[in-house]
């Protein structure tokens, strides 16, 4: 007998004569306490994210590239990982080209194995889009893809995320249902709610454990 057959057999024998319990999921409990007026969503998201050391900058679809350049300059960072094939990637490229910023735009356009060393040690920051955000918990939602692979939001010490204000949902449940996540998920879905942190030594909170030390969210209020 295989381990599989033994385990399933034991479990089935223990359930003999019993019925599966009904589905008593109560969606009210995970939605109603977490509903916000549309004008309060950004404020809720912002206060929760700032409480865990995230920088949140309201901006617009016109001025965000300049803000990115400014944020990098203030930190003396030059190497920015940014997907040239995305709309926001093209906008940033145009801005950098037009204004002769000291920003060196890098692309994640080859398998990680081909440039692991460089990704781990030579990239100062990354810029990615988001699928949206969750006001209830102060979380960004990322669905990594070929353009913006999984490690883009993890390895560089600074992660800048673009968020369209219209894509901030009240709570995770409403977002899952609105986008029908249960019908199929991509290989990796991430909720990101701040820079990497740990409290493993004496419960003292320290940021920049293994992932980004800084998370910067640009909220495009007109998008």
């Amino acid at each position: 007998m295989s381990a599989r057959a033994n385990i399933l057999g034991k479990l089935r024998r223990s359930l003999e004569g019993t019925m599966p319990r009904p589905d008593e999921f109560n969606e009210r409990l995970v939605t109603e306490p977490w509903w916000y007026a549309p004008e309060d969503r950004i404020a809720r998201l912002r206060s929760l994210m700032e409480a865990v050391h995230t920088e949140v900058h309201p901006c617009s679809s016109g001025n965000w590239p300049a803000l990115v350049a400014d944020l990098l300059a203030r930190r003396n960072l030059t190497n920015l990982l940014c997907a040239p094939g995305t709309d926001h990637g093209r906008e940033l490229h145009q801005h950098v080209g037009a204004t002769e910023q000291r920003v060196n735009l890098l692309a994640y356009d080859q398998p990680v194995e081909a440039w692991k060393e460089e990704l781990f040690w030579n990239v100062d920051a990354s810029l990615t889009g988001t699928l949206g955000a969750i006001a209830a918990t102060g979380s960004l939602v990322l669905w990594p893809d070929r353009q913006e692979p999984r490690l883009m939001s993890l390895v560089p010490p600074v992660h800048i995320a673009l968020l369209n204000a219209s894509e901030i949902h009240d709570n995770l449940y409403d977002m899952m249902v609105a986008q029908n996540w249960a019908a199929g998920l991509p290989t990796n879905v991430l909720l990101v709610s701040g820079p990497s942190k740990t409290a493993d030594i004496e419960q003292v909170l320290a940021y920049g454990a293994h992932g980004p030390r800084e998370l910067i969210v640009l909220v495009l209020e007109d998008a």
Binding site: S2, A3, N6, I7, L8, K10, L11, R13, S14, L15, M19, P20, R21, E24, F25, N26, L29, V30, P33, L48, Q110, P111, V112, E113, K116, E117, F120, T137, S139, R146, P149, L151, L154, N171, L172, Y173, A182, L185, T187, N188, V189, L190, L191, V192, S193, G194, S196, K197, T198, D200, I201, E202, Q203, V204, A206, G208, A209, H210, G211, P212
Partner: protein, 483 residues
């Protein structure tokens, strides 16, 4: 004064270890501070008691529903994961699980493994197993890394190094890594970050646990704050997730309340920094993520607990650690005293199914039954009730069939005789009165030594007159009669 308590230097039994821990002022102070803070954080995370209780009830029902169709859900999970390109393996014992993991690593000729936090891999003692076979298995959670570096075991399931303070960590990093001493926690964490980044990059295989496995979509959900879990499951070309068979839930929506209960109960956070949902390996059009993803489903006694409808509730556990944070015993004796992978109240009720009750005979009674653990459990496991049940199983006649593995280890004919006599005495009025008459008249003969009781208390001596007598006399003198 002991600065550290490596597992190898501990006393062989719970009582001995408890005595040592209680005598260690540093240890007690480290735990007291940490547990007070964790209790406060949890309280702050649930400001609305109605909301909290509603969510706990929902959490309980979701887990009960999942367990009521566990074999079907496991098959569905396997089918969905397989469709998604994840290879599913089954193991009845930790030996089988270790062999499976080792074979996967060997097939890739792997020599370096990085591990995200996984209590199931602690059950398996995977690090030791792989080390004996020439494979380095490095813990990457900061707390686990510290504990591993010092040759210890975790003392808390969420905060593995909670028994150490910054000075102790500084000394450890100085001794083992040659780092300059500092008590600045930020600098200590940066040492860990630097060291482990290199390891993430080089690793051949990443190992992780699973917080929830979702049958409907074939998804493994992991929560964490550090990013080491994402590193371990994304950077190396192979990802092996190991988990207990009880972690499966039916629907994606089920994880919404469960994750909220988990992070708020464990750390008082509305959510962890990362919630990582993994539904498959790297696809042909993707540029990163592991080429292979494996899931090892481990039984290790869980199906034994499942066979008993009452003990089955232990499988509700979502490993938040709130029960230990609120336990007056755990706070005083610390995690290592329990001598097993899972300490505290939850450890006391799940360890017997894994290790056998005969190996942890003192665990069920190392509790004041104050009820705090049951009150805070996010999935409403009636821990005090299960501890009482285990106390009964502990003293069952070994000749009877045992419902819990290793039951009957504390059986004593003398104790059974005493309790039976006590029962007889209290259920027969005539006999009881005779006993009262004799006990009050012969009180001078009461033993001065009644075992462990008299180690810390004076021996009980019967009163000159029984309450019964006194009451009767009182009623006579006040002229009333009892009917």
């Amino acid at each position: 004064m002991s600065q550290r308590i490596p597992a190898t230097e501990l006393s062989a039994n719970f009582r001995g270890r408890a005595g040592e821990a209680l005598a260690d002022g540093q240890l007690s102070s480290n735990f007291r501070t940490a547990m007070d803070s964790l209790m406060q954080k949890r309280a702050n995370a649930f400001p609305d008691a109605d909301e909290r209780e509603g969510l706990r009830e929902l959490g309980n029902r979701i887990k009960a529903r999942s367990l009521s169709k566990l074999p079907d859900l496991l098959e569905q999970l396997e089918q969905k994961l397989t469709e998604n390109g994840v290879k599913v393996h089954w193991a009845e014992t930790v030996e089988e699980a270790n062999t499976l993991v080792h074979n996967i690593i060997e097939a890739r000729k792997g020599r370096q493994v990085v591990k995200g936090k996984s209590m199931v891999s602690e059950e398996m003692e995977m690090n030791d197993y792989l080390a004996e076979r020439g494979i380095e298995c490095l813990e990457s959670d900061m707390g686990e890394y510290i504990v591993q570096l010092d040759g210890e075991k975790p003392s808390h399931i969420i905060m593995p190094a909670i028994h150490k303070n910054a000075r102790q960590v500084s000394k450890l990093f100085h001794d083992k890594l040659g780092e300059p001493e500092t008590e600045d926690v930020n600098q200590l964490i940066q040492v860990g970050r630097r060291t482990l980044r290199q390891k993430f990059m080089e690793a051949d295989v990443g190992v992780s646990g699973v917080n929830f496995a979702i049958a409907e979509t074939g998804t493994l959900l992991l929560v964490e704050n550090e990013g080491n879990g994402r590193m371990s499951t994304t950077v190396p070309p192979v990802h092996i997730a190991v988990t207990g068979i009880e972690k499966v839930v039916a629907n994606l929506r089920d994880v919404v309340p469960l994750v909220s209960l988990l992070t708020r109960s464990a750390l008082g956070q509305p959510i962890t920094t990362y919630v990582n949902l993994i539904s498959g390996p790297r696809q042909p059009d993707e540029l990163d993520g592991p080429e292979e993803v494996h899931l090892v489903l481990l039984d290790n006694g869980r199906s034994g607990a499942f066979a008993d409808a009452q003990m089955r509730q232990t499988l509700n556990c979502i490993r938040c650690g709130a029960c230990m944070n609120h336990c007056p015993v755990y706070t005083r004796v610390g995690g290592h005293t329990y001598g097993e992978v899972y300490p505290g109240p939850i450890g006391k009720i799940i360890t017997p199914h894994m290790a056998g009750l005969h190996n942890v005979p003192d665990h069920p009674s190392a509790s004041s039954l104050c009820g705090a653990c049951g009150d805070v459990c996010p999935v409403k496991i009636p821990i005090p009730e299960l501890l009482q049940r285990l106390r009964q199983e502990n003293v069952k006649n070994p000749e009877e069939p045992q419902l819990v593995k290793g039951g009957g280890a504390k059986f004593s004919r003398k104790e059974r005789w005493i309790w039976r006599s006590w029962q007889m005495l209290n259920t027969r009025p005539g006999l009881y009165r005779l006993f009262l008459w004799a006990a009050t008249r012969m009180r001078a003969l009461a033993p001065s030594n009644v075992g462990p009781w008299t180690e810390n208390h004076s021996a009980p001596v019967p009163a000159r007159r029984s309450l019964h007598d006194l009451a009767a006399a009182h009623l006579d003198s006040s002229g009333e009669t009892s009917s």
